[in-house]
């Protein structure tokens, strides 16, 4: 027990504790009753996630009376339960809950290991929640490492073909390279500042030092790997293709949330405007990443990789919001972080939606190449409709939530003197639009082998959840204000 254990610490760690406790329970149940049905483990995991959400609700209740937006600070400020951390925790829980409910097809192939599978999901979610709350370099790195291990293990656990294991290994290598870069960067920063406190970075670091530049570059590039954007984004395509869709929904969406949260904590909250190196590095990375993902999306021949590229493009666009903090061109507050957090939410939900539909297609025996889904509209109108909405949301097709998210991000970047980056983003949006529209046309225009199929093989819960996640792409257009309000509250405490 830590020496400064208190009620505050209990409350701050309650969301993570709920998840870790349930993960332990899930593993124990699996050990005691090895033959238990996978869906029992799934429901146990769901209870844990709902419990974590409830714990977040408790913290939120306390937060209502705190004008600063910082509910609990423990471990000398290293772990902060503020509105940003709460936003990330709630988003992670909701995304994990949705992903859990569509994992049926993935777990069906490994009934004996379903306890471990859901245990890993819970631990990974706890790691993401922790990343959102970390303001301390060492624990941030540890959380990132735990997340990577869990996500790689998840991919390896549910492998249905030899490529699954290989792609998980490649994910591990790429993730490790990214983490090594982050670690080396953090170590350099520690060497310069003699502190592992992210919040104190700006005060200590001389802004023009070469070592600082190297450190910041390594950290940003490493975390871009977690976010799933260039240069360390090959894993997204591999996981999307080789891991069953139910599991890849969780792996990719969680990694994007974690990468986004960590980047926000390190750059906006840590380095801030004082250390300006990241503010010229991130735009370059963003421009290359957006363009690379958008061009790649145009070339894809498989549905899963196309979705992966669109997720990557959408994640890269989030970097625009990250840059647009502080004051805008007219002296008013720039709302880039609101755009960033709402975009993060939309991306996560849309990712689950897209892979959820893909999971249903996999269960129905539909292949993964775009040729396999040619004329899908003839064969299963609901499947085609859901896939259309999911891919269109990720591709930024108007008027869906992905489009609205892009409008917010682009306008916030234009407001903070990143007009050229906004132009790149607009150009990339055209490319992703064309990729998405071309794919949608394939679903409807050309008849395939005309053998109708239904989504009946997928359990009703998974179908409902995947459908609801797709509908969220439409609903969030109307309900963007509540999401923006929450995102604005979440962004408020970042600096």
């Amino acid at each position: 027990m830590p020496p400064n254990f208190s009620h505050a610490l209990t409350l701050a760690l309650l969301p993570e504790a709920m998840l870790l406790g349930t993960a332990l329970l899930s593993v124990l149940v699996a050990l005691i009753r090895p033959g238990l049905r996978p869906d029992i483990h799934r429901w146990i995991a769901c209870i844990g996630l709902v419990g974590s959400l409830a714990a977040c609700g408790l913290v939120l209740l306390g937060l209502r009376h705190v004008p600063s937006g910082v509910a609990i600070t423990v471990w000398d400020g290293g772990f902060v339960m503020d509105s940003f951390a709460l936003f990330i925790a709630i988003l992670a829980c909701v995304t994990a809950l949705l992903a859990c409910l569509i994992t049926d097809s993935a777990v069906r192939t490994i009934p004996s290991r379903s306890g471990a599978f859901y245990g890993l999901i819970l631990v990974a979610t706890a790691a993401v929640e922790a990343i959102g709350a970390e303001r301390e370099m060492t624990t941030l790195f540890v959380s990132l490492a735990v997340l990577l291990v869990c996500l790689v293990a998840l991919g390896a656990l549910v492998k249905t073909n030899p490529r699954g294991a290989v792609s998980s290994f490649e994910h591990l290598i790429e993730g490790s390279v990214g983490l090594a870069a982050v670690l080396y960067g953090l170590a350099l920063l520690y060497g310069i500042t003699r502190s592992t406190d992210l919040a104190a970075l700006a005060g200590y670091t001389p802004s023009a030092s070469g070592a600082t530049a190297i450190a910041v570059t390594l950290i940003v590039l490493g975390l871009c790997g977690t976010l799933g954007v260039f240069p360390l984004r090959q894993w997204v395509g591999r996981v999307a293709t080789d891991v069953p869709a139910g599991a890849s929904a969780f792996i990719i969406s969680m990694s994007v949330i974690a990468g986004g949260a960590a980047l926000a904590r390190v750059t906006v909250a840590g380095l801030g405007p004082e250390i300006s190196i990241w503010r010229w590095l991130v735009p370059i990375v963003a421009a290359v990443a957006i363009g690379h993902a958008a061009f790649s999306a145009l070339r894809e021949a498989t549905v899963s990789r196309l979705i992966g590229q669109l997720v990557s493009a959408q994640a890269a666009l989030l970097l625009l919001g990250l840059l647009a903090f502080g004051t805008g061109s007219r002296g008013l507050p720039a709302d880039g972080m609101s755009a960033f957090l709402s975009g993060l939410g939309i991306t996560a939900i849309a990712t689950v939606a897209a892979f959820g539909v893909l999971a249903m297609l996999q269960v129905a025996g539909i292949g993964d190449t775009i040729e396999d889904v040619r004329g899908l509209g003839h064969r299963s109108a609901p499947a085609a409709l859901l896939l259309t909405v999911a891919v269109a949301t990720l591709g930024g097709v108007p008027p869906l939530a992905g489009f609205l998210s892009r409008v917010l991000l682009i306008s916030s970047a234009a407001d903070t003197h990143y007009g050229w980056l906004a132009v790149v983003a607009v150009g990339a949006t055209v490319l992703t639009l064309i990729a998405a529209v071309r794919f949608v046309a394939t679903l409807y225009s050309d008849a395939g082998d005309e053998v109708p199929f239904t989504l009946g093989a997928t359990p009703p819960v998974s179908r409902i959840v995947a459908g609801a996640a797709c509908l969220a792409g439409v609903a969030l257009v109307v309900l963007i204000q509540p999401l923006l309000a929450v995102a604005t509250a979440g962004a408020g405490t970042l600096r």
């Binding site: 008013l332 755009a339 097709v397 407001d415 132009v423 064309i434 529209v437």
Partner: protein, 496 residues
Amino acid sequence: MSVILSTIVWAPLLFALVALFLPERDAEQRSRVRTIGLAGAGASFFVTTFFAILGQIGLGQGGGLASAYQENHTWFWNFLFQAHYDLVADGITLPLLVVVTTIFGVAMFHSWKIHERVRLYVILVLLLETAVNGVLCSSDFVLFAAFWGLLLVPMYLLIRIWGGDGARRAAAWFAGFHALSLALIIATVAIIVVEAGAQSSDMGADLATFSVTAETVGFWLSFIAFAIAMAIFPVHTWMLEAQSKASAGVATILSGTMLLLGAYGMMRISLVVFPVPAHYYSFAIIGLAVVGAFWGSIGALRQDELRRFIGYMNVAQMSLVLLAIGAQTSVALVGAVLLLAGQGFGSAMLTLVSGAIEERTRTTSIRAMGGLVTQAPRLAGFWMVAAASVIGVPLLAGFTGDFMVFAGSFPEHRIATVLVMSSIIVTTGGLLWVANRVFFGPVRDQFARVHDVTLLDLTVLIPLVAAVVLFGVRAGAVVPVIANGVLEITTRITGG
């Protein structure tokens, strides 16, 4: 709170959702789907027409238009700008809404000629109508961009799935150009919300604090975006491809509504939001109009494909509208709106007639046709009415528009107006030449069994003829309504 405009915009989508759950296994079920589609388009049409008439009466009694047809809800506000679900129908919007809802009604009737994948066709047309009506009614830049983007997927699929040979390429052209147009509109919106200082994306907000650079860039971005949609020379190629390769029903929607939206956007955004550069660069706009008018009319003469010929006619017609936009006088702009209505109906009718001819003759080549008037006199009659409207024969929809555009443009740009006017002579010659080649001359043996219009053809063509005549005969009643809407544009241009 009035929900008239929401009804006009969303009714087609609601009916599309109903159609989504209907089966289409046999002819009866397919007919039911079409009926639902017709009901959706019809609902929008009747509400629009009813309130357009009421609007006209209100205007006659001294009432304003904009206040009567306005809905405003704040969409989101926790951001650097506020966005609104803001729908407005003023004097420009109302007549154009009548035009587009009529054309969609006609297109829905035309769906009885579609026998494959009827449900998808009906849903896409209704979705497209929602987008078109939304663009016309939006009074918020973000909402406008969202509806503008919504045009992309349904129109792309409609061209690609139900088009003939080469439809895939035509759809790709459309998608590429429309995506570019959307991107330019997004960039324009970003400039407006960031630079205008209104902290709102409301089109009615005070946007007077632009820097010269922002205003110039914003103007050209929006101008190019809408020029693409208008199919103005030199960004007209997508329309020629789509017009010639899409099915007749889809091409009707394309030439009757999509081009109209481009011109509407140019008037509503390029002129109103950026009046200074619009005035400064009016010579460039006029220059494009002159080149486009001749490019379109002379290009039409060189065509052998019937629908490509109509496509070039559209380019020439849109150049007349561009002339009015360049002139920026009240009379010219009122004429431009009337011309858009006339062009919409006329072009839609020409496209439908050409589709009917192609169905009967199994050819698209003008030179391969001839003597059809013997077998299909009514079809020839419809072509002549449409051609007369496009040319600007008195008492038809095109006449008042043509006259007002020239009357309004001449004092500002005399030489350009005379040049554009002279292009009408070429257009007239082209239309008469085609009529002569297709309908008159010796009867060809292979067309001996060609039949005249069917009941379905009459159902789709008669409403358009009625509209062309009504807009021509009752132009005096429509002009004050349009003038009411144009007043806002001219006030902004003159700095009032």
